[in-house]
Symmetry: C2
């Protein structure tokens, strides 16, 4: 497809999405929730069709020699399809954020001023191999009153088509417009470029995927982007940390799951806490099969334990793997300075019983999630009570950290008067 | 200056701003407020110096044949300088948004999750002729814990330099870093380009000025922008409007000030309200010297009154002048459809005593401010209780409508635990 062709396809998609967004903005909660529940039942009913579409994607992927991890992400089975349908029902059960009025108060002029929560408009969602994102993202966009244009991975095109068809059928049968959910029905990369330049139609782009996708989107997009870059997360064990709590949190943060963005990548230990915590933690990590790379002091204190050498590059790396870098620091200031220099702004946690140290850490560390005596693994939309999550933002504007329904909305000012004029 | 030179100047400014932002993030309320009050007194003390710098700008502007309106915006006198100092004191008196914790609540896992309000980081402010923006913008950025890089109009460079010098002196004397406020000390346009590409240092750009400035910024910027485009504001007089209230609001919205973004540009009247409201309003507008351009029905109903012909172009024009377009519409749906087609998303108001019509208008009109029985002129940071205003956003993300201190902040998640780990 040429760039011009892609632009004209995108314009048609964009115009339909804009019209759908205007209609969806006014849809009431009951209609949106019925559509979501109906979509769940259509997906369950069409399971065979979705599975056979997925089989085509799996066959092509295998023929192309795609690796096992990606194949697993691409693969659907009846359990996964059922989980997808359940996800739609869970979103239907969440409170509707739209129309909520906050903070309405009288002003000296006599007018009442407040905020009303409203949809963002049209959301462009760019994602990679997991076909369930098609249903998950569409559900969150629909519930929050937004139209969505979906662009999934080309390896999942048949699966995504089958899932999107179920969603669109449910929309129509619920009296909503099917254009509230549109899938870019082409694997041509030019379509991504066209989507990123459609600032007249699309209000925000949310990319979900690997670093190269996110960086391409951030570099090319004329539409505002809510992006999720690396999670180089830290746990800092303060002088006043309880050693048992420090061990439990460090282990959980590193070994609960390795390939996730909220896993710990670097452990910082106050020099006064090292005697009581360093070797038990390193031993436990090694027992779990985690490779440990330490600073000089770490290596010296670990004696015979197998600890490699951490370099500057280690401090700046998101391993997403059973590898941990460990650094002994002089004090809280040094820990915060290390975090300032190397963290990606995702999630950091302090373990301490010291009120002053905890308060300072909470206030001074500039990350999307800052924790005190808890595992970094809690940085998650479900754990935070958002009910669902469309992504995790490492940006600073609009929304930071886990993004749920509210992150897909904005607020307008409302003014209630009685004939007031300005003097 | 070449682009490369501009980039290296900008890099130096950006690095200093980033360091200043990290320090300012931790500054307490008392220190920030003292710095603001001290800045006010330095500005009053240095009045003679500021006036003579401004005289240089005025002389150059007059020699360049700059028009009277721009000369008036550029001109400082003792009253205006005093108002600038008072503005700094007013910002000092506002509550500090930074560090406020919202909505901290327990989750089933045992952790407490909430939001803490924090600064955005580094703000790039691009503005035109009014030198008081130098002080106003710096004050709001400082109070909200942000470092700012200011780029004023080249015609005001001497005035801006003198004002920025006062602010920086006050910062140092209050124990803060002077780099919290930096002025781009060059009138070279290449510096604007460099600022717009400094996404590694600057978190958001706020342009304030005419349409061509805003459009250039929006098109070129790699940094997120909070922008303020046109204010094509509407008043809609519903069938159930009180005629006296309709007249008062329409007159105020149009004639209170002409050159402001929250002035009404188009008046929509329900056909059933036209008999009681149209000619009194048109007569009052003409008496005030406002040119009226109407649709066919308006012209027919206005008889001998001097009403020109409104074209499609009129509906899409922000006059910023004593010109008003008037359209008779069939009903509320037609009014909302007209607004959907032509409004710029700034401010619209309905005049009605009908509960259902008012509720629908509030819910369905998609503008930054939506009003019921009040003049559009109230769309303003002071009138809304923000205490001050750095601009008015017609964007949808992050902040919409008048932008005060809170618009210059973001939130991070905080998690308070007791050793919780994820299972």
């Amino acid at each position: 497809m040429t760039g011009t062709d892609a632009t004209s396809v995108m314009t048609a998609l964009g115009e339909r999405a804009k019209a759908a967004a205007a209609a969806l903005r006014m849809a009431n909660t009951k209609t949106k929730d019925s559509a979501l529940r109906l979509a769940a039942s259509v997906i369950r009913r069409e399971m065979t069709e979705i599975l056979s579409a997925n089989a085509m994607d799996m066959k092509t992927a295998e023929e192309n020699g795609i690796d096992a991890a990606l194949l697993d992400r691409l693969m659907l089975n009846s359990d996964r399809i059922d989980a997808m349908a359940e996800g739609l029902e869970q979103v239907a059960a969440l409170p509707d954020p739209i129309g909520a009025v906050d903070n309405l108060r009288y002003r000296p002029s006599g007018i009442q001023v407040g905020h009303m929560r409203v949809p963002l408009g049209v959301i462009g969602m760019i994602y990679e191999s997991r076909p369930n994102v098609t249903a998950d993202a569409a559900a969150l966009c629909l519930k929050s009153g937004n139209a969505v244009i979906l662009r999934g991975g080309s390896e999942a095109i048949h699966s995504n088509r089958a899932i999107a068809a179920c969603l669109r059928r449910a929309l129509v049968d619920s009296g909503l417009t099917q254009d509230a959910v549109q899938l870019i029905d082409s694997t041509d990369r030019a379509m991504v470029g066209a989507l990123l330049k459609s600032e007249s139609y699309v209000d925000v782009i949310i990319p979900r995927g690997g670093r190269s996708l996110i960086e391409r989107v951030a570099a090319e997009s004329r539409v505002p982007v809510i992006k999720h870059l690396d999670g180089i997360c830290h746990v800092y064990i303060d002088a006043a940390a309880d050693p048992a709590m420090a061990l439990a949190i460090a282990l959980n943060a590193k070994t609960h799951r390795y390939g996730v963005c909220n896993a710990m990548e670097t452990l910082l230990i106050h020099q006064q806490a090292a005697a009581a915590t360093l070797t038990p933690i390193v031993r436990a990590m090694l027992d779990k099969g985690v490779e440990v790379r330490g600073c000089e002091r770490t290596q010296a204190l670990c004696g015979d334990l197998q600890v490699g050498t951490a370099t500057d590059e280690d401090w700046a790396t998101e391993y997403l793997a059973p590898v941990l870098s460990v650094r002994i620091v002089d004090d809280l200031d040094a820990a915060i300075a290390h975090i300032e220099a190397y963290a990606s702004g995702h999630t950091e946690s302090i373990v301490t019983a010291d009120y002053e140290a905890g308060q300072r850490f909470l206030r001074e560390v500039d990350s999307a999630s800052v924790m005190w005596n808890a595992s970094t693994r809690f940085a998650d939309g479900f754990e935070y009570g958002l009910g669902a999550e469309i992504g995790i933002s490492t940006d600073r504007l609009h929304v930071r950290g886990p993004v749920g329904l509210e992150g897909l909305t904005t607020q307008k000012w409302i003014v209630l008067g009685h004939g007031e004029i300005r003097s």
